[in-house]
Symmetry: C2
Subunit: 181 residues, 2 copies
């Protein structure tokens, strides 16, 4: 199973692609999409939509993993984030991809074992989990973390089926990810 994690933002949208093979999570690609900041809004959103479509076409993921939005206190930033998210989700929907949402806490927990990890910890854990030579940038790391979260959630779902319920498996998310190295 190939998973695309994607972290939409108005200035930078991170993406990360991983494969889940025999319970291991293997890095495929990651990067950051940055539409030209000086272009008009509609043009930037069109570019973002097109860039996401190209990432999907290039890597052929089976599923996409995005962050369940933590709604900020500020309606203006919610609107701006919503616009980027709308362009990204439209591209994923157009490609016929199933989109799974995970809360920030779930993603951090899956990676670090703690829902309170900071950005740097996430970046370090992503690098370590995928045996990357360099620490990815923060947007791409968040996207890879989303992909890893889905990979481990899928693994847990399987464990859940085996144990008929398997609620204990949920506590072991981080374990599954670390084993995947």
């Amino acid at each position: 199973m190939r998973i695309l994690g994607i972290d939409p933002g108005s200035k930078a949208t991170g993406y990360g692609v991983v494969d889940r093979v025999d319970g291991r999570v293997v890095h495929v690609a990651h990067g950051t999409l940055r539409p030209p900041p000086s272009a008009p809004l509609a043009e930037r959103l069109a570019r973002l939509c097109r860039d996401v479509a190209e990432v999907v076409a290039a890597h052929g993921p089976d599923v996409a993993s995005v962050e369940q939005v933590f709604v900020a206190a500020n309606p203006r930033s919610a609107l701006v984030l919503g616009q980027a998210r709308g362009a990204v989700l439209a591209a994923l929907g157009e490609a016929g991809l199933r989109v799974q949402e995970y809360s920030t806490t779930a993603v951090k927990q899956a990676l670090t074992g703690s829902g309170a990890a900071d950005k740097r910890q996430v970046q370090r854990m992503v690098r370590s989990a995928l045996s990357l030579e360099r620490t990815p940038g923060s947007d791409a790391a968040d996207a890879l973390a989303l992909a890893i979260c889905h990979a481990s959630a899928g693994r847990l779902a399987e464990l859940g089926v085996r144990s008929r319920g398997g609620s204990r498996g949920a506590a072991r998310r981080s374990w599954d990810v670390r084993r995947a190295r």
Copy 2:
């Protein structure tokens, strides 16, 4: 000049197309796009993006007119509106359309002469300004109002050029629109 007014919403997106011919504003088409409510979010946004692209392809507008977002007090609704707006703007940007934004007050003022008009007044004025047989639905009426606002703003810009400043023209927006019947 052909103008597409568009009023994005998560459930219903109104659109309206008008021509400005010799200072008159002439109705071309209007309607409401409603992606299937039961479909997943990404699919709905992809559909919205595609539907807007089809409206643009069918009518070939020269410019698009959208509402300058009044940021709601509620960040959740700002996010949801932002997503629909992102999908719509991406489609407009992809079509290479210039997008002009107008505040709700400017739109109402252009149509009714008062920035405080309610939805029904706008619907009635749109019907009257374009000599429509029936009152359009509220989403389509808002979109037509946006298109009419741009048409009259363009007319005013011309008047402004002629009078070298022409700030008095701004007060006559509603007059210009009504004359266009």
